[in-house]
């Protein structure tokens, strides 16, 4: 069974704080993704990575950065959190582009 874990289920931060969200997968998948999920908007891709140290912007990268130093770990960084970044953040991993994506449980982030 593929397992994707995320470092926190719930997180509350203040405006301007630097926030780190971590994701770990145990299936040696090449590709990893960060999405945010908002009511009525569905899942929107923030960044993805197809190899260690490689990253590509998704649809809404502004205000975010990512880091992939090891194959199993993909981190999302909010450089200076803002209230409009309050959302559910979902990490996913995938073997190949034709394969499906496996999701973690999500981190519900609230920025006050």
């Amino acid at each position: 069974d593929v397992k994707v874990t995320q470092s926190s289920r719930y997180l509350v931060k203040r405006t301007g704080e630097k926030v780190f969200l971590e994701c770990v997968q145990d299936m040696d998948h090449e590709n990893m993704f960060w999405y945010r999920q908002d009511p009525g908007l569905g899942l929107r891709l923030i960044y993805f990575s197809y190899d260690v140290k490689m990253k590509e912007k998704g649809d809404i990268p502004e205000g975010y950065s990512v880091s992939r130093e090891k194959k199993e770990r993909f981190s999302l960084i909010l450089e200076s959190a803002s209230t409009n970044q309050t959302s559910m953040y979902l990490c996913a991993s995938q073997t190949e582009p034709t394969d499906t994506q496996y999701f973690g449980p999500g981190t519900r982030l609230t920025v006050l």
């Binding site: 993704f33 569905g42 899942l43 979902l90 582009p97 499906t100």
Partner: protein, 112 residues
């Protein structure tokens, strides 16, 4: 216009009913079609995965793809209260990399 349209619901049905969930899309390049189920406060999990047109059945679930109409459906037979969740459709072209487009999700309630 969004690439993938999905009625957010909520859809409320009695136990035992047949449920029909649908998505329409605009990009004729989409070849891979998926349905995910997402329980409250959890990450999405893959339910059905089909390639190109046709039907696929798995237990009480049937996925249907009509590429000529750019329309996909998920049918749930003998619906159970445990089917209460948000159902997201997702799709991807055959080529062109890693990007999967998700619908906004339909919230389903099955009443006992």
């Amino acid at each position: 216009q969004k690439e993938v349209e999905q009625d957010p619901g909520p859809l409320s049905v009695p136990e035992g009913a047949i449920v029909s969930l649908n998505c329409t899309y605009s990009n004729s390049a989409f070849q891979y079609f998926m349905w995910y189920r997402q329980y409250s406060r959890k990450g999405p999990e893959l339910l059905m995965y089909t390639y190109s047109s046709g039907n696929k059945e798995d237990g009480r679930f049937t996925a249907q793809v009509d590429k000529s109409s750019k329309y996909i459906s998920l049918f749930i037979r003998d619906s159970q209260p445990s089917d209460s969740a948000t159902y997201l459709c997702a799709m991807r072209p055959h080529t062109g990399g890693f990007k999967t487009i998700f619908g906004a999700g339909t919230r389903l309630f099955v009443k006992a």
